[in-house]
Amino acid sequence: MYAKQLRFLIPLLSLLSALAVSSLIMVLADRDPLMIFGKMFHATFGSSYGTGQVVFRMTTLLLVGLAAAIPFQVRLFNIGAEGQLLMGAFAAAMTGAMLPATIPSFLAIPLCLFSAMAAGAGWALLAGALKVQFGVNEVIGTIMLNFIAQAITGYLLTYHFALPSTVHTAPIATAATISTFDKVTGWFANAPANLSTLLAIGLALLLWIMLFRSRFGYEMRAAGLQPDAARYGGINAGVQSLTAMGIGGAVAGLGAANIVLGYKHYYEAGMSDGIGFTGIAVALLAGAHPLWIILSALFFGFLEYGGLTVNSWIPKDIFMIIEAMTIILVISFTALGKRFS
């Protein structure tokens, strides 16, 4: 079918065009793009450490990508994954730090993850409730809540929970940490990639099944596609909006599994580094499809870490140009495709 082919072609074409244009920029800046891309590949997928770094970034990106994609099924734009991730990470770190030293892992990890999800979901639901109850545009709601989340976590960290002369909280209980692949399987030597990657991929699969194989997703997608018809069919569009936002926020909060439980083991100022916003791009490139988001997150993870590795030859900002351009092209090509079919 024509439409199916377009779904593959459009992202691919956008990606290639973006790479071509950025190569041109590199040439204009008097750099050899082939050399730079070569070095980039070598430093990422060419070494087990580099691959581990990409996988580590991919994991958070996958989660925040899903956080944007699920609300998108009901036509809501969740721009708030950043704030939801911050709240989740902070909640997980606090829970982890408060656990007694004797607690077993099978309790400690779920407790931390649960508090991360609850914090993220609560933050997203606030925007959802504002939308459903008062008609506050969710884009504005989530963006504003990002600022508030930043301020709250910043205040709590600085004035109450930061260890003296540091910008991070006390470390979480050892039982609450998630091991790196290096420790468990010996993969990705010394890289921060940890077992929460499996959790994230499992979650993407689960959400895919829920969205496309269950009544839950059937109702949610119907409410997004044709809200009037959904009402006729006995589906409450408001409830669907809240559920989608809640799930999105919970998934964003789960990013804490990767960055807090799996990597830093505490909450640190600026640890999310705007990755929540990249999640929107991850979801857009994948057409908000949970399974495609895995690939899309991998690609963005590659650009993010790869950019760092070649920073001494070309500013890593060039890769932000590639990211942004890919998204703009995906959207434009999709509109063009619709016009011609």
Partner: protein
């Protein structure tokens, strides 16, 4: 007399659908020419072609005997055509004078606006046409009738000679309507040519010099307003040339299932759409509601399916087997044993992006038989879909992967029918315009299924604007007019009169206008 607008064999196709088919029409200068027809008859498409919003697929349009080919409304406006849309094109925050000059400022980019000229026009024309408004008032503070006057002033400011009014009275109170007619006559007397789109027949008779009736994209008749009668126009609007051949054996109605008593429906804007409507439907009968659209049918249906917008005031009762329906939500109403086929299939009954199978589930997706574990039971759904497809002769190749939007209108409607008629345990079936936009073959299938459902003892409420359908199927007929059942034909009467269908249509026409 000179001809202001002439259409010669004009057609407009959207895909394979002909919204306007081979239309020839002349609007004479200095007359009010009304075009009547039901929703979807093609009136809007016709006016949009004259106003340059649509380009004709074939045929020729000429303005004042000069052939034209408009590519945009801008060109139509230049040629002296103006349009008052049903939904006003005004900017509420700006004043009357500012709205009047909008898009026709005729001054340099950084020069002062010709507001004085607009104000002078208002002063000059207000008296002559009965268009008094305060030029400095923000449009948001005006009543609907006054806003319409601003729209007319806009046309005068642009020197429009040909004015198109799209359902101008739909939003007006009776006294505002009277006033509008005075304005229309004054405009005509000063040589303007007016095209009036409406489906309200009283208005046509009150104000039109010439009337054209449209049906299914064609002009079926044009006559002088003075010689037209309401009954004749109504019959031409809703009558059908297609022969409906459904055998309708005598019904044996049982107990009353649906009882509606003194039902009234007042919108948030205070309009009374249904007033003291009472009717009941028995088991094993089809109660047909005949009427011209816009007489409260939609609001009655909304009430019965729990979709009245928030803030609507509903009084009176509607019960199924003694249990009240009013105030319940669609899902709960379905659980009471009610099934509903809505007026607007595409908007309400289907998700076009979903597959045929998924649509066969829509609204029934909570039924246990379709589930297994956390997901759907693919096997059960496949089996059910195949059964429905054979039973209702739905033409589709692969129900599990083909999107509903790719089916023809008739087959889409069959999907909706199959789904709604097979709900377990239903006792009341509400059918609104069941065969609208459906091809003749599908109509026959659907009609036979309706009679079949009646035999099983269901109570059926049928709302249709097609008299032929009402007469062919109904056990009893209620004529709805201005939100109330104005006349009811008993079972004996219907069975007796069905034989002389043409006469019966005329008689019903009398009660619905």
């Amino acid at each position: 007399m000179a001809v202001a607008v002439r259409l010669s064999a004009v057609s407009k196709k959207f895909g394979s659908f002909a919204a306007n088919n081979n239309i020839s029409l002349s609007v004479e200068e200095g007359t009010i020419h009304a075009i009547v027809g039901e929703n979807g008859a093609g009136k809007s498409t016709l006016t949009k072609m004259i106003y340059g919003m649509h380009r004709p697929t074939s045929g020729e349009l000429s303005i004042k005997e000069k052939a034209v080919r408009f590519t945009s409304p801008r060109e139509a406006i230049k040629a002296g055509i103006g349009m008052v849309h049903q939904h006003f094109m005004l900017i509420p925050e700006l004043s009357v004078a500012e709205n009047i000059i909008l898009g026709h400022e005729e001054c340099g980019l950084f020069r002062p606006l010709p507001l004085e000229r607009a104000k002078a026009l208002i002063r000059k024309e207000a008296e002559a046409y009965g268009l008094a408004v305060d030029p400095d008032a923000p449009v948001a503070t005006l009543s609907i009738g006054q806003q319409q006057r601003v729209e007319i002033l806009k046309l005068l400011f642009r020197h429009a000679e040909i004015m198109i009014f799209d359902e101008p009275t739909a939003v007006l109170t009776p006294s505002e309507t009277e006033r509008l007619f005075i304005t229309l006559r004054a405009l005509r007397d000063r040589g303007k040519s007016i095209i009036l789109i409406t489906h309200k027949l009283d208005e046509v008779l009150a104000v039109a010099d010439t009337v054209s009736v449209m049906r299914k994209g064609e002009i079926v008749a044009t006559m002088p307003g003075s010689s037209a009668t309401k009954e004749e126009l109504a019959q031409m609007m809703v009558g059908r040339s297609v022969l409906l051949s459904v055998t309708n054996p005598a019904a044996t109605p049982g107990e009353i299932l649906l009882a509606i008593n003194n039902l009234s429906y007042r919108t948030t804007r205070g309009e009374l759409k249904v007033q003291s409507l009472s009717l009941n439907v028995r088991a094993g009968e089809i109660y047909g509601i005949a009427g011209v659209e816009g007489n409260g049918q939609s609001e009655l249906l909304q009430t019965l399916w729990g979709l009245a917008p928030e803030g609507t005031i509903i009084s009176g009762t509607a019960t199924l087997k003694g249990v009240s329906i009013i105030g319940k939500r669609p899902g709960d109403i379905a659980l009471m044993g009610i099934s509903c086929i809505p007026e607007d299939r595409l908007l309400h009954a289907v998700i076009t992006e979903y597959t045929v199978s998924e649509n066969l589930l829509f609204g029934r997706h909570r039924e246990h038989s379709f589930h297994r574990g956390i997901g759907f039971n693919g096997h059960a759904i496949k089996h059910y879909a195949e059964e429905m497809i054979t039973d209702y002769a739905i033409r589709c190749s692969s129900p599990g992967s083909q999107s509903l939007g790719s089916l023809s209108g008739g087959n889409q409607q069959k999907v909706v029918f199959a789904r709604e008629m097979n709900r377990p345990g239903i006792s009341l079936l509400i059918l609104a315009q069941p065969t609208r936009g459906v091809d003749i073959g599908a109509i026959e299938t659907i009609h036979n299924k309706i009679i079949e459902a009646r035999h099983t003892g269901m109570a059926i409420l049928l709302v249709s604007s097609e008299l032929e359908e009402i007469i062919a199927l109904s056990t009893r007929i209620g004529c709805i007019y201005k939100g109330a059942i104005r006349h009811e034909f008993s079972q004996e009467e219907v069975e007796l009169k069905r034989v002389a269908e043409h006469e019966f249509q005329k008689e019903i026409g009398l009660h619905i206008t």
